[in-house]
């Protein structure tokens, strides 16, 4: 129990348009049965974190429903475990701003946890990372803070919005930048000792800061020993509808799928009680991910079907992401579309989006 975790959603924008009308980005379904936050929680739980807090500010109903008491990650322990912390500010002397409000008002979480180090992450970087390795690196480099980054082979549009790291040959971070052409994508994850974290929080509040990382850490590269940990495993960033669509469909690449789901980092999610997927005589499925509880009579190509989707006879689903419990009527045609949960497409309807700009249908629509 060396480390405790914080998934800090406070600074994340609702970037996914229709998909984040009613839920925060972290709760957006991904990869046929997961939600984005599953990756962060699973990586922490796999590394044996006994205390994990989720800082959330708004649209957290579906997030709370999904995480529950953390049973799916074995976090439903008597002491510690998973804490979902929505805003609850009752300190009359509180002058904190931004995400520092969360740190200030939930200081008890840090004091009660037995771990001496805190790993803080967001939810937009999908990966299977071993935080024990990060911890060892942090120790051996005698770092004050360790930032985690991925050196990407090719900069994709979604990397534009990410912060980048300038790193010396020895691995020390000399600058956190927003420059476009830098391949060292900061994964929005860092490790820091609890003691230093609380000092930084106090300092930030006293100086009117409103963003812990930007105002109290990134700005202090000269004063603190900030080291970089280079993560080399599978990785993608979900911070726009385009990147969401592209990286979901990227799971159809068997190598990416295997590396993400069949490596030593098991990704867990809330289990549903669905029966196995049922393929009927007329089913024609290729290059697709299918969740349990689906009933398929039609054609499904290059698509991702979440749990409990029904595809009726002669329906065609191509290059699409179909979320939980959608129903595609007989003869309906879908191409380059994202259907949010519980959408019903009636008989013979056609919806064709653009490859770069998929058509997004919000929850519970009947078309």
């Amino acid at each position: 129990m060396k480390m405790m975790g914080v998934i800090n959603l406070d600074n994340e924008q609702d970037f996914l348009n229709e998909l984040t009308y009613f839920r925060c980005g972290a709760a957006v379904p991904f990869g046929g049965r997961y939600r984005l936050i599953d990756f962060g929680i699973s990586n922490m739980a796999n590394a044996g974190f006994a205390d994990i807090a989720v800082f959330t500010r708004k649209k957290y109903r579906s997030l709370m429903d999904h995480l529950g008491k953390g049973k799916s990650w074995d976090l439903d322990t008597k002491y510690g475990g998973l804490f979902i912390l929505p805003p609850d500010w009752n300190d009359p002397t509180d002058i904190s701003k931004g995400d520092l409000q969360h740190f200030h008002n939930n200081i008890d979480f840090f004091h009660r946890g037995k771990a001496e180090y805190v790993l803080i992450s967001g939810s937009q970087h999908v990966c299977g990372i071993n935080y024990q390795e990060v911890f060892e690196h942090h120790q051996s480099s005698d770092a004050d803070i360790t930032l985690i980054y991925k050196k990407v082979d090719m900069l994709e549009p979604e990397h534009k919005q990410c912060q980048k790291l300038s790193v010396t040959e020895e691995g020390r971070v000399v600058e956190v930048t927003n420059e476009e052409y830098n391949n060292n994508v900061y994964m929005n994850m860092y490790l820091v000792s609890k003691k230093l974290l609380l000092q930084l929080v106090e300092y930030g509040i006293a100086h009117g800061a409103s963003h812990l990382f930007n105002d109290c850490i990134a700005s202090e590269v000269d004063n603190l020993n900030i080291q970089a940990f280079k993560y080399t495993g599978v990785h993608c960033v979900i911070n726009s509808v385009e990147s969401y669509y592209k990286n979901n469909l990227h799971l159809l690449n068997p190598n990416f799928y295997r590396d993400l789901f069949f490596n030593e980092q098991t990704i867990n999610t809330k289990v549903k009680n669905e029966p196995p997927a049922r393929y009927l005589e007329s089913a024609n499925v290729s290059n697709s991910l299918v969740g349990n509880g689906c009933i398929i009579e039609g054609t499904v190509e290059n698509s991702i079907l979440f749990r409990g989707v029904k595809v009726h006879k002669n329906a065609i689903v191509k290059n699409s992401i179909i979320m939980q419990r959608c129903e595609i009527g007989e003869g309906a045609i879908l191409e380059n579309v994202i259907l949010d949960k519980d959408v019903t497409l009636t008989e013979g309807k056609r919806l064709i989006g653009n490859e770069q700009m998929p058509f997004v249908i919000p929850k519970r629509r009947v078309i």
């Binding site: 046929g32 029966p275 009927l280 290729s286």
Partner: protein
């Protein structure tokens, strides 16, 4: 003061299931896999939960390791209750010694103390051998309406098959007048399903009597029920309608699995009003590749299909390599199938490894036979397996 439980269920799960051969080598019959995701015991346990029965004793004896860990504290079926819930009841030692369960009635007799804790009015006896959905609350209501001492659930079987079953001969009001165990000339076609509701006070008396009888084989069907009937008690048959399959043999297990693959299966696993619960392994969604074809199939999470699957069931974590063809078969969890493998009409036990080019199918002369491959088997490349089951 805890409120008493109206009805406690006792599930007989100690049977060996010899006729399932290799499948029950290290496994009690109720723990045998079924339907791509389930174990047989999921069905009676889910029925209990859905019927509002929250106190279930599971009597185990034969090879209980996997069954015990599978049941756990019953959370998969919402049976992890503060008061009641599921309790696994193996045979035990007491001051005056101890015994294996000598028969179905003896197993209940030895656990009288368990039942007494809940001071129930009724006891429901179930077995872990059948695939069916049943609302036990309706049966209990019937039992009360008839003011019965014992109610036995029955199903109408085709007359020509009646001689294979334990037949109940009934009067017009469905009260039972005689039992016929596998009659040569059946007078009725109502077969016992091995599901009984007893008034607990009455059952307790008869169990004690039966236990004292050294000549009894301590079986409900053979000893206890006939004795109760002889004594002129009120026994009623409760007619069950719907899908009910005994999966006691390799053939019937295979057949019941295949029943799920019809376009409109009689046993509907997708029925949201009567969910079947099971322990859910956490696995990624199944991947069906570009080259794969999948028709008339049930496929579970964690499967990776690169070949052709027709009229078959794949449990979780099964990999099917390129060019392989699976037909009329049941593939149990985590089986890895290489490339260009042919599997026809077979049941492949869990964690088996089938190497490239292997052929598993019945000899033409034995087309009706099902090939059974035991768990953890290793079938080497290009070998031809036509084991008779």
């Amino acid at each position: 003061m805890k409120s008493k439980k109206e009805c406690v269920a006792m599930l007989l799960a100690g049977g060996e299931g010899k006729r399932l051969q290799l499948l029950t080598k290290k496994l009690a019959k109720p723990a045998v896999y079924f339907g791509g995701k389930y174990r047989i015991i999921d069905f009676p346990l889910s029925n209990c939960t859905n019927s509002g029965i929250d106190t279930v004793g599971v009597l185990t004896q034969y090879q209980p390791l996997i069954l015990n860990s599978y049941i756990g504290i019953g959370s998969a079926w919402s049976l992890d209750r503060k008061y009641g819930g599921v309790s696994v009841l193996p045979p035990f030692q007491a001051q005056e010694g101890g015994n294996w369960y000598k028969g179905t009635a003896d197993a209940i007799y030895q656990n009288i103390n368990f039942i007494e804790q809940y001071d129930p009015q009724y006891v429901l006896i179930l077995s872990g051998d059948h695939i069916y959905k049943m609302n036990y609350a309706k049966m209990l209501q019937y039992h009360q309406e008839k003011a019965a001492d014992v109610t036995i659930s029955v199903i109408e079987v085709p007359w020509e098959e009646a001689s294979r079953f334990g037949i109940l001969n009934t009067n017009e009001d469905l009260s039972i007048h005689t039992f016929d165990e596998k009659p040569e000339n059946p007078q009725n076609n109502l077969a016992s399903m091995g599901i009984y509701i007893f008034n607990w006070d009455l059952l307790k008396t008869y169990l004690s009597e039966d236990a004292a009888n050294l000549r009894s084989s301590h079986d409900f069907g053979k000893n206890v029920l006939p004795k109760i009937l002889d004594d002129g008690k009120r026994l009623y048959a409760y007619k069950f309608q719907g899908y009910w399959k005994d999966v006691g043999t390799v053939e019937s297990l295979w057949k019941a699995n295949m029943d799920l693959l019809e376009d409109e299966p009689q046993f509907n696993l997708n029925d949201m009003n009567w969910r079947m619960y099971s322990v859910n392994p956490n696995q990624p969604p199944q991947y069906i590749s570009q080259k794969a074809t999948v028709n008339r199939a049930l496929i579970n999470e964690g499967c990776y299909v690169d070949g052709n699957v027709d009229h078959s069931i794949l449990f979780f974590g099964v990999h099917v390599g390129e060019g392989s063809s699976i037909r009329d078969s049941v593939i149990m969890p985590n089986v890895k199938i290489g490339k260009n493998v042919t599997i026809n009409k077979a049941i492949i036990g869990e964690n088996s490894f089938i190497e490239d080019g292997a052929v598993i199918e019945p000899e033409p002369s034995q087309e009706s036979e099902i090939t059974l491959i035991g768990e953890n088997s290793h079938i080497s490349a290009n070998s031809n397996v036509a084991v008779k089951s």
